[in-house]
Amino acid sequence: MSEISKELSCQYCNEKIAASDVFCGQCGQPIDEKSEVKEDVFNALQPALLYYFITFLLLATYKLTSFFPEGFDGFILVSVIDVLIVLVFWHHNFDELRELWSLKKIKIGLITVTILFAVLAALVVSLIAAFLNRSIYEEVYYETTLYEESPFPFLVATLLVAVQPAIFEEVAFRGFLFNYLKKVTTPTSAIYVTAFLFGVIHLQFISLLWLIPMGLIFAYSRNRYNTLWYGVFGHFAYNFTITAINFWNVG
């Protein structure tokens, strides 16, 4: 049963061990286990919960109260704070996140499929939304009137609604939040948890029906291909299509 081809030794007592050993025969300590102190799960989750609840309080205060200025100014202000929060966490996890941005992992074919799929999904969601009544309709479409105060409404809307979330929401939910969760649980479970949180933080409870599946797909591709790029392109394509349909409907 034991085959000593390489010289292996126990990390606790330096006694020689066989490759098939699970425990050291001399000291009884486990072999493959890293000698790490087990910390409380909520300690490990602290940064993840901190990011989620700070961002949630910001968005909820903006959407549910009149604390922030109305119209375009308030929207810009909230977007800037939102981005700043993500930047702080991005900075703290910079090295871990850098590898997820590697351009080498991009496959052009898969990117194309992702974009086509996202555009299609946006069209389907718009169609479903059109069937539903007005109060739900407002949830799905971003207000175009908001951008009329700015010099280039469509460009500004594209930047704020398509470019900003595609980068910063992806870094947050598929980047550091995913990494924090992966430290305490399996990748599969991290995929589901981040997808649920991604859906809930949008505070549009009917949209959960498509936000959670979207979150699942982006998180799956982040885990499968170890890159954020598919999420970034998919997220951009989806939000951009919704924005374009929205402006086209108004115009």
Binding site: S2, G25, L64, T188, S189, Y192
Partner: protein, 179 residues
């Protein structure tokens, strides 16, 4: 080469705990860490520690079960209140929102069978999120059913810890072939 010869010529003994064949010179079983060369006391304390780990798993599973029940209760409450606001008050938008959240809890309760840690953690965060949303819209709502809120949050916190603990201990027990 010398090692190889040693192994071939050395005698093997059978581990009492996991029946693995181990070289007679070892003090602990290479496969389950049972103290094969230890005293009766050593062997008893090995068995006792396995027993206490199994009890810990059982306790943790009790707490996980409590959380599952709470998630089902929340799903039920939101379903009923959704129907009430919809049909008694003609507030269909709130009805749909309540039914969506009820469905979400139902999905989480079902998922908790397979992955208690992920499901209870998510349900806990969503529960706190909804309390905060109601608080932001109407601060007085915080105090309605405050006792239940505290109890549920306490149960969720214990549930998340227990789910993690149970999983870690099960991995250990699996390793010592004691399941």
């Amino acid at each position: 080469m010398e090692q190889q010869d040693n192994l071939i010529t050395s005698e093997f003994i059978t581990c009492e705990n996991c029946n693995a064949q181990v070289v007679s010179t070892v003090k602990f079983c290479n496969s389950c860490s049972f103290p094969v060369a230890g005293s009766e006391d050593d062997k008893r304390s090995f068995r006792l520690s396995i027993g206490s780990k199994k009890r810990q798993v059982k306790d943790a599973e009790e707490k996980i079960k409590t959380c599952k029940t709470i998630i089902y209760i929340l799903a039920g409450l939101l379903f009923i209140s959704g129907l009430v606001v919809g049909f008694a008050q003609d507030d269909y938008a709130s009805m749909i929102v309540n039914l969506c959240i009820s469905l979400l809890y139902l999905i989480l309760a079902a998922w908790s069978e397979k992955n208690p840690f992920g499901a209870i953690l998510t349900a806990f965060i969503i529960y706190v999120t909804l309390i905060l949303i109601n608080f932001i819209v109407e601060p007085a709502t915080l105090f309605s059913g405050l006792l239940f809120k505290i109890l549920f949050i306490g149960a969720f916190v214990k549930g998340v810890r227990s789910a993690k603990e149970a999983k870690d201990i099960l991995v250990e027990l699996e390793k010592t072939k004691s399941l």
